[in-house]
Symmetry: C2
Subunit: 298 residues, 2 copies
């Protein structure tokens, strides 16, 4: 078993672009220690125009990085809806355990803002070209290959690439196909990654702050986790785009650069835990179990 | 893409023991519909001696099926601790987002009951022989093979078999190796499956009722999710084993038989969603994304 582990380590290290000698010489850092020691160059900022902020009724805040490179029309709709105050005074209406928390559908009589694309295309995948995928060297049951690109978890078949439904990813609720959703209702993954949704629904971003606000809500007792009484709805006071604030007042978030040596070491350590608590490194890891580190800056 | 999907379906159907003709002829049921239509023969009871019940301070209840076939000494310790009232008046002390909820460590000065094995062996895997594994025909990044046996999610290398850290699985907290934990502190997985813990820690069961009680608690703000003030602890009023109640008063839980045709159809449908909402069946699924159905009976 020890021998098998050593072989797996060597293969994994080579695939990660790290020499086995480097791995062997490195102290056995836990992934969190690698993140804590990351140099400034390992981080990229979240662009203010891609930073969606929500303030809940109790004052707690959620920060979401939008992903226009993967779902440009759906993301543009999120921005238009936010600027049109669609989410202000709206609410979380559904919390299904081990699945999703969903918001934006509290008041269907509210007017959609001008500029909304009413029937967006199916932005469920994009061309793989133009995307620098750092591939994870492990088998995945859902996609021919997985990895990370520009700070996002990605699946790909070499021709197309798509965001994967990992914990904290934000998507657009939709009705039966061909409806692709107009971004008025959004959800976030709060449990085991529901990867069956990959390529079946548009992902538009991921939570970078305040995930606990969305994950620890009471589960709805109605069908598929809907709250059964509007009084159970969790109010959203307001939502806005960081770029619309004065620059000095904007909260700043950062995402680890997935093309950095630090992220390579982090992903390798997630696959092969050698810190003191562990006895048997797994020799592999799921793309959703390599959560891209994010942090609030300043 | 359609063609690739059709081939994947045929392979998967054959591997699941279902003919492609049967799959093609079957209505495209959602997994939940397959569970709802399951015959009585598709379910097995949870044995009262393996049913751990907990009542929280607010009266809500949690039910856990113990797994003595995988970790007999650790499970015997859980039973001895429960009968010795270790958990009565104890508390949940740690909730780490996307990881675990942990309890039993609120009062380390409490006396351990007689009969406790103070230093259990490392029950992190067991012989694969004697276990009828229904294998999932998909690659897994953590284990040479995965599947289900007697209602449990399992990883195996053909020689050994082990429970996998899926959502709702319950394990034994431990200190640094060689400590294997004495079952005084237990945790439940509340996020993406932390499969790196497989074969590194003893799993002793899984939640079969009241999972939302454990998953929706406020996240701790201390290191690795510990509550920072004992006032934040979530009280456990009492815990007991169902077998110790009068037979007529015992709650009864059931688990889907993972060797049943119904479970085969359920697992296949989890891998290849063909119900109306889906456009592209994934053609594969992770063992932790085939959650074994459980229900309260009677």
């Amino acid at each position: 078993m020890k021998r098998r582990t050593a072989i797996a380590l060597s293969l994994a290290a080579a695939s990660f672009g790290l020499s086995p000698e480097l791995i062997a010489a490195a102290p056995a850092l836990a992934p969190a220690e690698i993140v804590a020691a990351a140099p400034a160059s390992a981080w990229r900022p979240v662009a203010p125009e891609n930073l969606l902020l929500m303030e809940m009724g109790d004052g707690r805040r959620v920060a979401i990085e939008l992903a226009p490179a993967f779902a440009p029309v759906h993301v543009a709709n999120v921005v238009a809806l936010t600027r049109g105050k669609w989410f202000d005074g709206n609410a979380i209406v559904r919390v299904q355990d081990n699945y999703v928390t969903q918001w934006g559908g509290a008041d269907p009589k509210r007017a959609r803002p001008a500029g909304l694309v009413e029937k967006p295309p199916e932005e469920y995948a994009r061309p793989a070209s133009g995307l620098a995928l750092r591939r994870l060297p492990f088998a995945d049951p859902y996609a021919p290959m997985t990895g990370h690109a520009d700070g996002w978890p990605v699946g790909s078949d070499g021709t197309l690439a798509w965001l994967t439904h990992c914990y904290g990813m934000v998507g657009v609720g939709r009705d039966m196909p061909p409806d692709a959703g107009d971004s008025t209702e959004l959800y976030v993954v709060i449990g085991q990654s529901p990867r069956q949704l990959d390529r079946n629904i548009a992902l538009v971003g991921r939570v970078v702050g305040g995930m606990d606000v969305l994950s620890s809500l009471p589960r709805g007792t109605g069908d598929i986790g809907f709250y059964t009484d509007p009084k159970q709805n969790v109010p959203i006071r307001r939502a806005w785009i960081a770029a619309d604030m004065p620059a000095a007042e904007r909260p700043r978030y950062e995402v680890m650069r997935t093309d950095s040596p630090t992220f390579a070491a982090f992903a390798e350590a997630r696959a092969n835990r050698r810190d003191a608590f562990y006895i048997r490194p797994a020799g592999g890891v799921d793309v959703c179990n390599v959560p891209v580190p994010t942090r609030k800056a300043g």
